[in-house]
Symmetry: C2
Subunit: 353 residues, 2 copies
């Protein structure tokens, strides 16, 4: 057993963990480790927004173009494709890409064919919406967790340092915070507020959102490909509907409790067909707001209760794979841009008049 | 809103709370305050143990005698009577008494008629078991919580300092710890282990148990006297059975997770008739063990989920009264004595051969 905080990220503490040194978690969980020299990563959400079936083909083509452009020099080390329908009824397809080097990401973005396409006035006129939500947390500012040590998702794929041993900081409320290296010395309190340029987002515009200090972001996923029989039934008929309810709550009513945006997304394969994988992606005013929802809101208490029933029914022998990655972002680790998107999209949510 | 930690018990922190300074709990809760000069209290559990209906009359008479003796000089400021059937099928009736002054408790215990009765060899021969479990936490070592500010239970009745304003530290996991003044500077880690004199408890003996550093103790109660209609049905048919299951688990299988003893007790009136009030009383190796059970064990997750449904169904308008008192006890704040009790009684549980 080892700490979720990698050796080279440990520092003299001014803040304590929530558990004692002899704490033993009830089941095993692993973290991804970073290779030497991987100090900051980039998590890029490249979205295409459309409404109605007649635009879906063009939206899909735009997504595929983005994914093809990942193949250019300095492209990401890993990407996923995913889809969801938002609260306004828009289709949102997102290519989620990970870089282990922000400089490479910078060069990729500056590639003329990428940059010209993004900056072209035509982006406001082709009937689709586009967005880029870029989080680039330093190693101290994020953590990962995987229910199996054999395969990573998300940022874990590009970190390059292999898998940890079984980690100690999980299975209790507050463990998410305790896994983030910065928690050794910092309460990660949010300050400031989002601002939009222009100040009042509206459709048909380019909008930049400036984040504030310590915005929290979580991608929390599951894959049920390998489940069979009773486990599959339990997932599809008990756990998934409960999860969906919680995701819908955050999407529709999250703002009041500090959740700026929530997307419950399904993975697509390279041809746009759905996979048996999904994840929730949400942005929060603060890690504390996320903690409070997770610990005490009825919708997440229900998710937690449902997961507890699930693992017990299956006697902890799961084929379901679960993982998450959580970041607490400084001002300079966030960049959000929207082109011709409706004003409740992503980080714009709640800022329109 | 104010801190659960009374002003005069605040000190420069070396340890942080789990929530930020601007945290607002989702519903109000109150603490009892101590009057000036109340620095240490005594919580005494005076038990009578018997088996089978033929001994119940004598056991009841013994309990009533104990309660009458509370009326002698230096007796407690408040007491309750309660009953439960333990895992071995024994009836246990307990008079629970609170003193706001340990010196007064000492004098009361030393009163010849009390002391002579307790020390008499006849106590081993009259067919009943007796015990005294005495916790005497200093003000820094315990906390109280009440769902209404109008009436106290337990130690709150004798503390003499009235009721706090609405307190901040509740409604999140870890708030129990944050309410205990000692948590400002101390992790309250358990050390050492219980020991018995004689070393192997058996029936027909006088047994003393020495506690260890930082044993945690909770009395957590509810009164449904004033509930009616839908609320009463919800309590009796959903919440109470779930609570009972959790209590049974701790009673029967608690040792493996650090729970030395659990009693789910019903209040009796002065004539021995049941009231519509109950409480769980448990002793734990550490506060951390209690926290882990509460946060993640299926039996308590179910209790928590059931309570969440309850308050939501009733839109937070409850007639149910709930409260608790939690102490973390130093060696010198614990005294446990058993006369002719079966070897799984109270703190003896798990120490017999």
């Amino acid at each position: 057993m080892e700490s979720a905080i990698a050796e080279h990220l440990k520092c003299p503490r001014t803040r304590h963990r929530r558990v004692e040194d002899d704490y033993t978690p009830p089941y095993p969980v692993w973290s991804a480790r970073a290779a030497a020299g991987v100090g900051q990563v980039v998590m890029g959400y490249f979205g295409v927004q459309s409404r109605g079936p007649e635009l879906q083909g063009r939206a899909c083509a735009a997504l595929m173009q983005i994914a093809r452009d990942f193949g250019l020099a300095d492209g990401p080390g890993h990407h996923d494709l995913a889809h969801f329908v938002d609260a306004e009824g828009f289709d949102n397809m997102i290519a989620i890409a990970y870089w282990s080097d922000p400089a490479a990401f910078g060069r990729w973005c500056a590639t003329p064919e990428i940059d010209d396409w993004w900056r072209s006035p035509a982006r406001l006129d082709d009937g689709l919406g586009y967005f880029r939500e870029i989080a680039s947390p330093r190693a101290e500012h994020y953590e990962t967790m995987f229910s199996t040590p054999d395969r990573f998702e998300g940022v874990g794929v590009v970190m390059g340092g292999g898998v940890s041993g079984e980690i100690q900081e999980h299975g209790y409320w507050g463990s998410m915070r305790d896994r983030i290296p910065l928690s050794q010395t910092d309460a990660m309190v949010a300050s400031g507020s989002r601002s939009a340029i222009p100040a009042t987002p509206a459709p048909g515009q380019r909008v930049r959102i400036a984040g504030h200090q310590n915005v929290a972001m979580i991608r929390s996923g599951q894959e049920w490909t390998d489940t069979t029989g009773k486990e599959r039934t339990l997932y599809l008929e008990d756990m998934e509907p409960t999860l969906r309810e919680g995701m819908d709550f955050l999407r529709d009513q999250g703002l009041a409790i500090g959740c700026y945006s929530n997307r419950y997304m399904h993975h697509l394969d390279a041809r746009g067909a759905p996979l048996q994988k999904s994840f929730g992606l949400s942005f929060w005013r603060s890690l504390a707001d996320m903690e409070r929802w997770a610990e005490s809101h009825p919708t997440h208490v229900a998710i937690f209760g449902s997961f507890m029933r699930y693992v017990q029914e299956l006697n902890f022998e799961l084929q379901l794979r679960v993982y998450h990655e959580v970041s607490v972002l400084k001002m300079d680790e966030q960049s959000y841009e929207y082109i011709n998107c409706h004003p409740r999209t992503g980080l714009m949510n709640g800022l329109a008049a």
